[in-house]
Symmetry: C2
Subunit: 117 residues, 2 copies
DNA sequence: TCAACGAATGAACATTTATTCATATGTTCA
DNA sequence: TGAACATATGAATAAATGTTCATTCGTTGA
């Protein structure tokens, strides 16, 4: 028998079992994509401003003190992640949070960082 | 009175009120930093492998099919975000999740992406 | 109809980030 | 002690990302 043994903590068959039980790679990829969207201060601030109200692009830009273009670009990213939604009214686009998950994810993250040693 | 009026949805005073109620910028920055760590498929997969057990670096590398060096680099990032912790035993370093938040954040994210239209 | 305005978009640039390769560190055991 | 091994780390490279600037699109109202 020409079996290759590894001398690590876990047996080869066990490693394979762990591989099997992992969620499929596409799911994990989507998950990473979602968190990537949360992983930017500008987008976090935008979501934060939208916590209790809808706002148009110009007002968001004022609140977070950034240019209209930058805000608009980030809003597109937030939109495609289904984190914010738009309502158009005349010349303006009003954005609001799309989903309760946003607040929940936000709060969980806060818990983690405030509990840090 | 030389007050500049804006003709957007919300009055200037209201905008300032919203600015005031925003969490301070350092908190939001840390929050973004935390989610940035979740925002990478390799790190997500590592955390996932560690969901129910501790593993040494070599085994993690086997499970997620990446090089030892890449895994080690990512573990350092996870460690400094307090998401995983190490226990050293002889030649090996055993990593495990540091915190229940990891699982909670993970599951919330999964909920969000599976509910998408 | 056309000027003014709010928002969206594309291209360019600078910065950040993940991976790889090579090497260093630290531990075990022969 | 020194060879073998597990892990960590530094430098280099390639790829991804955020912001800015310039421009376009779409709507309003004079």
């Amino acid at each position: 028998m020409n079996m290759v043994l590894n001398n690590n903590s876990v047996e080869k068959t066990m490693l394979n079992a762990i591989k099997q039980e992992m969620p499929d790679i596409n799911t994990l990829f989507s998950l990473a994509e979602l968190y990537k969207v949360f992983g930017d201060t500008t987008r976090i601030r935008i979501m934060c401003a939208l916590f209790n109200r809808e706002l148009c692009v110009f007002d968001i830009a004022e609140i977070i003190e950034m240019g209209q273009s930058a805000v608009s670009h980030q809003l597109r990213i937030l939109r495609s992640a289904h984190l914010v939604k738009v309502r158009k009214d005349g010349k303006q686009s009003y954005y609001s949070l799309d989903d309760d998950h946003v607040k929940e994810i936000f709060h969980l993250g806060l818990e983690h960082i405030t509990e840090e040693k």
